[in-house]
């Protein structure tokens, strides 16, 4: 589709020194970022990094303490209601009325946006189809599976044809199969040019869905780029994971020195960062070391996060 040429305020979200403080602690600490039209932008970080608080400020439901934030060119403090009219929001916890039917949930939500009843009903049917819930349209929400409720929540967030879709941990708590169904739907939206902003602590989710992301840790942004950029910048091409028999890892003192570019010791395994993981594995065996398992894999955002913070994403 043709993209209109846009001038300086082409960013859908523009944040500078954005800060949120609660009594006694700082949840978001002077972060800068921009999100452009049509982009899929992610906040990756562990629980408590400030991702949800940032999303709530963007969604105009939590006031900014300090710094600049514009959303769709408007000021959340002054135009919150008008901004929210153009957003779709998928909150971390479902906020469905479980005693209503799936269809009623969608229709009433459209009414909050001021859609005429017939238009809201028409969109509800299309969105039920999109969410693969058409057959459950007249069923109560309560007995639906977690994955179905998530898809319903995503469908609900699209009822006003939003310019910007905000998803806070869209697949947390879902089993792998349900997650893939949700990802598939989000991927379709992305291909249609929907601007997505999501938070996640799953690196695979970030890799699948985000064109560009920022890594957050302890209320700050510690890195920014595309998933590939970040991996190239902060990690090697491959990683060799070594697991030793209990007690052996602690006795390895210096015996791995010189293999690969960098070594990371986790409580249960050792990660050897190298351009060529198989070569690293061969070198380890050549030194007479006998790990119980050796796994060579490509670097992921998990490795980026480990490098940047010294900690795992999921603890």
């Amino acid at each position: 589709m043709p993209e209109p040429l846009e001038s300086q305020d082409s960013a859908l979200i523009h944040a500078r020194a954005l800060t949120k403080r609660y009594a006694g602690f700082t949840a978001v600490d002077h972060i800068d970022f921009d999100v452009a039209q049509g982009e899929s932008f992610g906040f990756l970080g562990p629980n408590g990094a400030g991702k949800t608080t940032t999303m709530r400020m963007i969604a105009c439901v939590s006031p900014v303490t300090e710094g600049t934030l514009t959303v769709l060119g408007l000021d959340p403090a002054r135009d919150g209601s008008r901004i929210r009219a153009q957003l779709g929001v998928v909150p971390q916890r479902d906020t469905l009325d479980e005693e209503l039917t799936t269809r009623e949930n969608l229709i009433i939500y459209g009414r909050y946006f001021g859609l005429p009843r017939s238009e809201s009903a028409r969109r509800a049917d299309e969105l039920l189809d999109f969410a693969q819930l058409s057959e459950r349209g007249n069923d109560q929400v309560e007995p639906l599976s977690g994955g179905m409720k998530r898809r319903l929540t995503i469908a609900r967030s699209l009822i006003n044809d939003p310019r910007l879709l905000l998803l806070d941990e869209p697949t947390t708590g879902l089993d792998p199969q349900a997650r893939h169904l949700v990802w598939d739907r989000l991927y379709r939206l992305k291909q249609r040019g929907v601007t997505l902003v999501l938070t996640t602590h799953y690196m695979d989710e970030a890799e699948q869905l985000c064109d560009r992301l920022v890594v957050m840790d302890k209320a700050k942004i510690v890195a920014e780029g595309s998933p590939r950029d970040l991996i190239e910048r902060y990690s090697t091409r491959e990683v060799t994971e070594l697991r030793f028999r209990e007690g052996v890892q602690e006795t390895l003192d210096g015996q791995l020195d010189g293999i690969g570019e960098r070594i990371e010791r986790l409580p249960d395994r050792i990660l050897v960062y190298a351009e060529d993981g198989d070569a690293a594995a061969a070198a380890i065996h050549a030194r007479g070391l006998q790990p119980e398992t050796v796994l060579v894999r490509r670097s992921s955002l998990e490795d980026v996060f480990l490098r940047l913070t010294g900690r795992s994403l999921i603890e």
Partner: protein, 281 residues
């Protein structure tokens, strides 16, 4: 063709939507409450409509037969049923409003969090607070209307002014709904709701002049009755139903003014605490 083939996110950056008119947000919240009420309507019929009628029959007609043999002078020379009905109307308005201002408010803020979902739309916290109060007002209006109808059918309406007891019921309900909703929005569990009913609503129900004139209370308790909204609702409703309101118009206006003050202050407080809870997340 479809809402999503004209994809979200690619919508042209046209003019931002106009600001929400003050009443339309309230109307949308009201519509949600109406939709969810349709599901529980049948089970609420008994509590709201049949219950008061039975109460009126048992107390007003049954008990009233004995009362009327000795005590009509203290009741202003009317039958006990005629005395009781307008008082019970106000007390029932209080009960309905109090219930609606506790559990449903907590439900939307804490249990299913649907008020947080509303806040993700153009609706503002004040729309959510006032929309709920508007709904409670509507429920109380229905209950009061049925009550007046039943009273008339029992032949206990002494004056046509009893029709005005309907808005008095509304006012009494709102005088409770606002402050109680404001309190409910500060709670995370229902624990303290029991205390509200046990130590607040039930004693008021019994001792605010509903069943006997407050002049029968110990002297030190009588000024306390003046501080509670229910007493004013009962006095006003009774004055209208018995037709004595015209004799003391200033007193009646004072009762109404106090109810309006409770309702207005309560609504303001409810807007404040519901907003605070929504913003906190």
């Amino acid at each position: 063709m479809t809402a999503i083939s004209q994809p979200a996110g690619s919508a042209p950056a046209g003019p931002a939507p106009a600001a929400l008119a003050w009443f339309s947000g309230i109307a949308r919240v009201f519509e949600y409450r109406l939709l969810s009420y349709r599901r529980t309507f049948r089970s609420s019929i008994f509590n709201s409509f049949v219950g008061p009628a039975l109460f009126l029959a048992a107390m007003g007609v049954g008990l009233g037969t004995y009362v009327d043999q000795s005590a009509t002078a203290e009741l202003g020379g009317v039958s006990y049923l005629a005395f009781l009905a307008p008082g019970l109307l106000a007390a029932t308005a209080m009960q309905t409003a109090s219930f609606e201002a506790t559990f449903p408010i907590m439900g939307g803020l804490v249990w299913n969090r649907v008020y947080h979902a509303m806040y993700a739309t153009p609706l503002r916290p004040r729309d959510i607070a006032l929309g709920n109060l508007a709904w409670i007002g509507f429920r109380v209006l229905l209950v009061s209307s049925v009550f007046v109808l039943v009273t008339a059918l029992f032949g206990a309406a002494a004056s046509p002014l009893i029709v005005l007891a309907i808005p008095v019921g509304l006012l009494t309900g709102l005088a409770f709904a606002g402050p109680i909703a404001a309190f409910s929005a500060t709670q995370r569990t229902v624990e303290k709701f029991n205390a509200v009913f046990r130590f607040g609503i039930t004693p008021l129900f019994l001792f605010s002049g509903t069943f006997f004139p407050i002049e029968s209370l110990p002297a030190f308790l009588q000024p306390i009755a003046w501080l509670t909204p229910l007493y004013h609702g009962v006095a006003l409703s009774r004055g209208l139903s018995l037709g004595t309101a015209a004799e003391e118009p200033l007193l009646m206006l004072a009762h109404a003014a106090i109810l309006v003050a409770f309702a207005a202050a309560g609504a303001a407080a409810a807007v404040r605490t519901i907003s605070a809870r929504l913003v906190r997340g």
